[in-house]
Every structure is written in C-alpha cells, then in structure tokens.
C-alpha cells in the first residue's frame, strides 16, 4: 500500500497515511481519496493554483499563510518551510546516494 503523503494538521504536522489512490500530476506525491482536490491535484498544489474548492486545499492555503507570517514574527526563518520528520529522513547522512560522499560532507545545496 502506498500511504497518502498529504501533509495534515495545523500546528502539528503529519502525513495523512491512508491508502493512496492517485498521484498528484503536479508534484507527484501520493494522494488518498479524501485528499483528492480539484483537478486531481494534491491540496497544496491546488492551493498554489488558487483552487480552494476542496476543504483541505483551503486548509493548506491557510496553513501556508500562517506559517509564513509566524516565521516573520518569530524571526524563525525555518518555521515557514515546515519540513516534517518524513521530509528530513531522506537527508540523514546514511541516505546519501553514495556513501563515499560522507567523509568530507558535500555541503553545498547546488554546484556551480
């Protein structure tokens, strides 16, 4: 079973986790039947396109606005990005493509 990867919650973020029935055509994340917003998009992509028909799309939009504003009030620039444990797990040192990269840590986000 592929779990639904839509972010739920407002203060506490988590993944929905129900059985996914489709993939969002815009960002590719797995979406369950409850979270399938307008046009088969995931709530966050629907919100980014100003389509708030589905309640979870409206919730995603409100959460985004809220996080952005709180990041400003708190000077906590990272609160805005709202990465959860699921997002972070992919960036643990052991998850790198090539274990040989570990010894001197390729820090850069991009290469130029």
């Amino acid at each position: 079973m592929t779990p639904c990867a839509v972010t739920t919650g407002f203060f506490t973020l988590g993944k929905c986790g129900q059985m996914a029935v489709a993939g969002c055509p815009a960002c590719g994340r797995a979406v369950c039947a409850d979270h399938l917003a307008d046009g088969g998009l995931c709530p966050e992509c629907a919100a980014a396109r100003n389509r708030f028909g589905h309640p979870s799309a409206a919730a995603a939009a409100r959460r985004r606005v809220y996080r952005q504003r709180q990041a400003q009030y708190y000077g906590d620039t990272v609160y805005y990005s709202s990465f959860d444990d699921y997002d972070r797990a992919a960036f643990e040192p052991g998850a790198a493509a090539d274990q040989d990269y570990l010894d001197d840590g390729d820090d850069a986000l991009v290469d130029s």
Binding site: F10, Y74, D76
Partner: protein
C-alpha cells in the same frame, strides 16, 4: 405569529448554534466531526436569519470559527475539543466588580473605578501528538468615572476606559517529551515559562495593551501566542 420562518430556521440549526443565538455563548466538548457540523450550521446563518436580535454575536464568525477549524485539524480521530465561549460582551453586569471610589484632588469632586473581567473564550484540546492545548482569552476593562466641578459651578461627569487583553496558551507536552528550547526567541510581547512536572508544560502569555481592531488581527494574535508552544517540539 411573527418571525415564523426564521424561528423554524433556528430550530433546524445545530444546538450550539442555537445557544449562540439565544444565549450568546456555549460550553461543550465534542470531537472534530461535531465541530465541523457546527461550522456548517453557522455558515447557513446569514442566508436564513435577518432579525438583528438573532444575529450572531461578534467574534463568532471571524475569530472563534476559524480558530476552532484550525485546532480541529490537529485533533486526530480520537481527540476532543472543549470550548467555553461567552460572547455576551464585557458590559454584562455580572462581569463587573463593584465600583470603588478612588482619591481625588480638586477640581474633581469624586471618582470611582470599576474593573470588568470578561473571559470570553476558554478551550482545551487533546491533540493527536498526545499533547494538551489550553487557550484562555480574557478582556479586562478599567472604567474611571470622575465628577468635576468647574469655576462657574457647573458639574461634569467624565469617563475613561482602558481595555487590555490577556492571551494565555498552555501546552502540556506529550508524556516523555522534554522539548527543546527554540533557537530564536519569541517576539518581545510574548512571555514564556516552563512548568516541569509529570509532564512538562510550556506556557506562553501575552498582554495586549490595545484590543485587536479586527477579527483577523485577533485571530492572528491568538495563533501567534499558540505558535510559541509548538516550537518546543518538532
């Protein structure tokens, strides 16, 4: 009889919605689904009710409803949210302490001071991560009434009010979670204290010297204070 259709409409509303209309407040504990039903009922209000006596109390649609919606997002399938809302306003006699006279000097003849305390929203939610969230919002008004006598002997009564708002949020962290102090400090107007015990609590409190002027601002302030308690855990 009069207002027959609107009375019938009210009878069809959610019980808490009816309580808001008729008693201007409610106290209830429900899971997220029930609060969603209340929201659906409230959204039908403007289309059906026109009599001003039965209008929804202020702060219902622009503060309480959005706040409940957001907190319900975090409730999870088993969590419940308890809300005590009293939207009668601060000018209800029961909310005022007795007037107290305060010392004066001429030309004032006498002065009284009255404190009114209006805890208009109190809520408790058991969130899905195992933490408990409490929110308390209190408006406090100081009313001073001064009687003055001018040189011509004319007596004037002046009144001054000062109104402040307290927002207190407490989050009891889940069992066994210690939390980490966030790297950046909260805004200066929010105070944070920790209370250790069987479960650690993070308390955030703010005293606003000026009442928020719009529903959006009010909601924003409440959420900002609540945010601090959630920055302690990831």
């Amino acid at each position: 009889m009069f207002w027959r259709k609107q009375k019938a409409a009210i009878a069809g509303f959610h019980p808490l919605h009816q309580a808001l209309i008729l008693e201007r407040g409610f106290a209830a504990t429900h899971p997220a689904a029930e609060w969603a039903a209340l929201a659906a009922s409230l959204h039908r209000h403007t289309g059906l009710i026109r009599r001003s006596k039965w209008a929804l109390p202020p702060r219902t649609m622009d503060v309480i409803l959005p706040l409940l919606t957001e907190i319900c997002e975090d409730l999870g399938p088993k969590g419940v949210l308890a809300v005590t809302a009293d939207l009668r306003g601060i000018h209800v006699p029961a909310k005022s302490h007795p007037a107290r006279s305060i010392p004066v000097r001429p030309p004032a003849r006498s002065a009284t001071e009255t404190w009114s305390i209006d805890p208009w929203l109190r809520l408790h939610a058991g969130l899905r991560d195992g933490s408990g969230l409490d929110v308390l919002i209190v408006d406090r008004q100081r009313l001073r009434r001064v009687t003055k006598r001018g040189s011509s002997g004319k007596t004037k009564v002046k009144r001054k009010t000062q109104i402040t708002q307290l927002i207190k949020v407490r989050r009891r962290l889940p069992r066994g979670v210690a939390g980490v102090r966030p790297q950046t400090a909260p805004p200066a107007w929010i105070g944070v204290t920790l209370r250790d015990g069987e479960r650690r609590s993070v308390l955030a409190a703010a005293k606003l010297l000026r009442l928020p002027q719009s529903g959006d601002e009010q909601l924003d302030r409440i959420l900002t204070v609540a945010t601090e308690t959630f920055r302690w855990t990831r």
